[in-house]
Amino acid sequence: MTAAAPAQGPARALLLAAFVAMLFIGTGLFQSWTLALLIVNMALVSSIMALGVNIQWGYAGLFSVGTMGFVALGGLSVVLVSSAPAPGGWAAGGPGILLGLMMGAATIAAAVMAAAKLPKGRIRTLGVAAILIVGFLIFRGIFDPAVQAVEANNPAAHGNLGGLGLPVLLAWPVGGLLAAAAAWAIGKTALGLRSDYLAIATLGIAEIILAVLKNEDWLARGVKNVISLPRPVPYEVDLQRSQAFLNWASSWGFDPITASSIVVRLMYTGLFAIVLLALIWLSQAALHSPWGRMMRAIRDNEVSAEAMGKDVTRRHLQVFILGSAVIGIAGAMMTTLDGQLTPGSYSPLRFTFLIWVMVIVGGSGNNWGSVLGGFLIWWLWVMVEPIGNWAMTVITTGMADGWLKGHLINSAAHMRLLTMGIILLLVLRFAPKGLLPER
């Protein structure tokens, strides 16, 4: 540890937690409390995502950078579970789509079975290829017309099957399950890869998931977006219209607009905090059990762990699925918070690497580190913009008007990433093992 950070163990954790808390309190005092809460909410979601990545990387050393894909799947679950069914969508081609998908799954299953059953050699290759090709043609034959029919159904407003119209909170566990199912399929194929090779494979799979989300309009309208998703909490405007609320606000001397957004955001905070705390408890209990020890052993030395009777493949699959499920839950929570699903806005930088930064800065392998990293980095991500602007203002005050000053002021927006970079490097420099190292 560097000299700059003498405190160790719990004292250090408390100190850092207090520091991050100060950042949020400062935001509340000097900017606004609604903003502080808004950042807290997203920080909670980010922490959960970071927790998921930490389960994969910190526990098992799986260099999976497919985070974005699972976040997106979580988002998809919100649309599928909670949005209203599209009028006429299902009738237009729903059964065809389902049948087509089942055909596709059956084809893959048949191919896998054939690959296992047939004797090695040319027959097997040809057989599997034949099954795949025929299956693909049948799949397209059933699937394509159905999709066209659905997508032609009032494309400007719908063009998709729509959701089940169930309560949105249900979408959170469903998001986890959806991500877990995808992770199972991915893990079965790709987990044999190591380090950066696994990374690029998972990155690629995340891009594939996104490509499906963007281009399969029948599913969730693709790039046309789904907006106005239902909320688990009341709308601020409804509160502002409710006499009871107005009375309550004025009895406490609050401004009704501010009060309404604070109340709503606090409700989100509560919901998210419950999820986070539950997950943290589970993670901590797992990490500090023989299970966690086994995972650390596997991470340290797979060959040896295998020789000591640990089924490395299965355990890798297990943590991969668990981590992905956690990320999926967080993805669903985020989409709920945004109130919309916009597939075009998922980018690896934001939804994979920023989350990784949180994990590494927080201290990989340490659950509380992930939470701390989530809060700190998210706060920075949002607040570097004003910090950058402010820095630019400081630099340019006292400067004569002219080309340079204009150029500098116009460049203020880029200070955002620059500032982020500098702060990231500083944190990494003074805590190269993360703020809360594993031990």
């Binding site: 950066d196 990989s364 990231l424 093992k433």
Partner: protein, 336 residues
């Protein structure tokens, strides 16, 4: 039935663009793979290094153009390139001093270096845009084509044209030379071998009297040369815009990894795998098939396996399949 036209259509729309794009990716991948193999981390700042190197070249090119220098049929930027490389090398060496050296000293895990490179990426990102703005810049001059579609049609009398841009030609040639040189440098020269030794076992390299600072310096200089060249050639061919260069990172790493990290030959093979899988699998074969079949059998549809919506998805599927068969890439790459 018209085999020649079919062939030319295929060459013009699939083969030549794929070849040039593959070479562009390969040049980028070479730099990334070099840093991976010697300094042992995936350098996320590589795309932005290419961008800032290109910015230097663009500024120098403008300077040259304003005093009336030109390079005959070739783009003036090629004259500015060596100076751009020097500036980029200085920048990278400064970055190493300020950032990476510390982590090497404390023997930080590779993932920490990756995260640090992410930080460097953000900073370079800002600096690039600060210097040259965000808009898209085209800085090519000289003769645009080696062969234009029109000339080809006139000369051969075929219905299909064949076009080869100067920049495409230059890129392919430079990429091949760079791969050869890098391979030779790492495998045969004393300095190259000492660099590999350093990357293999740093402590033992010290015990052999290898000077780590020198290894690191040489690595960054070569990386700067590769990144600047890659960025400049790409920019000449397709135009410069900072955001696109950042986005290049993904296919570049895909190429480096599918070829096998640390292997120069792998980088070029990987570049072509990625490029051709993007171009080929989503290609609509309608035109080629129409030429090949009698009129009565001419296809109605596009004869397309998948729509271009899925070109990335497809190239990644191919990448994953390659990796499943060869878990460390086509040319047995490293893995840390």
């Amino acid at each position: 039935m018209d085999i020649l036209n079919a062939l030319v259509a295929f060459l013009n729309f699939v083969f030549i663009p794929g070849l040039a794009y593959g070479a562009q990716l390969a040049l980028g991948a070479l730099g990334a793979t070099l840093i991976y193999s010697i300094l042992r981390f995936s350098n996320f700042a590589h795309g932005d290094t290419m961008a800032i190197g290109t910015v230097f070249v663009i500024l120098l090119t403008w300077g040259l153009q304003s005093v009336g220098v030109s390079f005959g049929p070739l783009p003036t930027a090629l004259l500015a390139l060596p100076f751009g490389i020097v500036l980029t090398a200085i920048l990278l060496l400064a970055t190493d001093r300020a950032v990476y050296r510390y982590y090497r000293r404390v023997k930080a895990a590779p993932v920490i270096l990756v995260m640090a490179s992410l930080g460097v990426m953000f900073i370079l990102n800002g600096i690039t845009r600060f210097i040259i703005g965000t808009s898209d810049i085209s800085f090519t001059d000289g003769e645009r084509f080696i062969l234009t579609a029109g000339d080809f049609r006139a000369a051969t009398g075929l219905a299909e044209g064949l076009a080869i841009r100067t920049t495409q030609g230059v890129t392919v040639v430079v990429a091949l030379i760079a791969v050869g040189l890098l391979f030779w440098f790492l495998q045969k020269t004393r300095t190259g071998k000492s660099m590999r030794a350093f990357s293999d076992n740093e402590d033992l390299a010290l015990l052999s009297g290898i000077n780590p600072d020198r290894v690191v310096t040489v690595t960054w200089i070569v990386a700067a040369a590769l990144a600047t060249t890659a960025g400049t050639l790409y920019g000449l061919d397709k135009g410069f815009s900072p955001f696109t260069y950042f986005q290049l990172l993904l296919p570049i790493f895909a190429a480096a990894i599918v070829g096998g990290l640390g292997s120069p030959i792998g980088a070029i093979a990987g570049g072509f795998v990625i490029a051709f899988s993007e171009v080929m699998v989503t290609y609509a074969w309608k035109k080629v098939v129409t030429y090949l079949l009698p009129d009565s059998l001419a296809p109605e549809g596009l004869v397309q396996l998948m729509s271009t919506d899925y070109k990335f998805a497809v190239s990644f599927v191919i990448l994953i399949i390659v990796l499943l068969v060869m878990p460390t890439g086509l040319f047995k790459g490293k893995s840390i």
